[in-house]
Symmetry: C2
Subunit: 190 residues, 2 copies
């Protein structure tokens, strides 16, 4: 039984999910959780190193010291059996509705305060951002879709594929919505 009384944060579960796929150094975890696709969650190294130490103290991960560059010892972390148990329990746990927080939609909510030309331009830029995100996701999906295990629900690649598919669908929908908004603006300007 692990040291209880130590609640794991969302970031902690993100890291456990990463390490369940493959053992990594803190540096590698930071690379994988960075731009442009950190699989729908991001964090900086300054947040990751302390969190790894907490997970380590809670025995949800363990580390071995390996040789590597840098002034301090390089550590490779791997998830422990109790880490895997905790991760699986979190995955199927209660999901309370999380607050929506979208800065771009917040902007659009005040779009009535600006001139139609500026509004049109803003939506165009939004469209560009969604398009490039979509392109990246499609590329990622193409890279994994022929790999073995991609259709097996007990394999990590299955989960990568379905979350990527979700990203693709939502970006496509956002693009359609942008086109619709342009049309709504044009209809009124007429």
């Amino acid at each position: 039984m692990p040291d209880s009384a130590a609640p794991v944060s969302n970031l902690g579960f993100a890291i456990l999910g990463l390490l369940a796929r493959r053992a990594s150094t803190g540096y590698e975890v930071a690379q994988r959780m960075r731009q442009p696709i950190g699989y729908f969650w991001t964090a900086r190294h300054s947040q990751i190193y302390p969190e790894l130490n907490r997970l380590d103290a809670a025995r949800l991960v363990e580390h071995e010291v390996i040789e590597g560059a840098g002034p301090r010892p390089t550590k490779r972390y791997r998830i422990t059996p109790s880490g895997q148990t905790a991760l699986a329990a979190w995955v199927v746990g209660d999901l309370e509705p999380q607050p929506v927080r979208d800065l771009e939609v917040l902007r659009l909510w005040s779009i009535w305060t600006v001139e139609p030309d500026a509004a049109h331009d803003l939506i165009g830029r939004l469209e560009g951002a969604h398009q490039s995100a979509l392109d990246r996701y499609l590329e990622e999906l193409a890279e994994i879709s022929d790999l073995p295990g991609v259709r097996d629900p007990s394999k990590p690649l299955f989960a990568s594929r379905i979350t990527l598919e979700g990203g693709i669908r939502s970006r496509r929908t956002a693009l359609e919505w942008c086109a619709w908004m342009r049309a709504e603006l044009a209809a009124a300007v007429r």
Copy 2:
């Protein structure tokens, strides 16, 4: 010219957007920015009162003391002309790609660690959450869609309508995605 050197936070612009639509007390701002639909941004009163004071100090809003309940004076805030200018400038300003941060997708990314039955159940619960959000959005849209100004891009109701439309489209897409994921799970379990 307002006191410069005072950068306004995203929360500040959310509040300015609210006050641009109608003058409110801090309490009313807090009600409007609460669950279930805070128009894609939420905040608690403990964050709102200090922010209102900062906006007030920067002359982006002003207040009058009115009579009301409570141990302290009740204040009604309204946006100032320079507040409107600042809001409009923010709306058309640069949009740097914001980091994706979705806790439900993060869960799904580790769904391969659990049994197919539990995975199926999780997706069912996700579907229920999206469905109830969709229902709320549809109700909201029905309430405003016959009001005057709803098709005029210079009116707040236009912006309410297009952001609500975005919410509806994204929830519908999420529901389709959930159905697709169930099918993918079933195909493999076969």
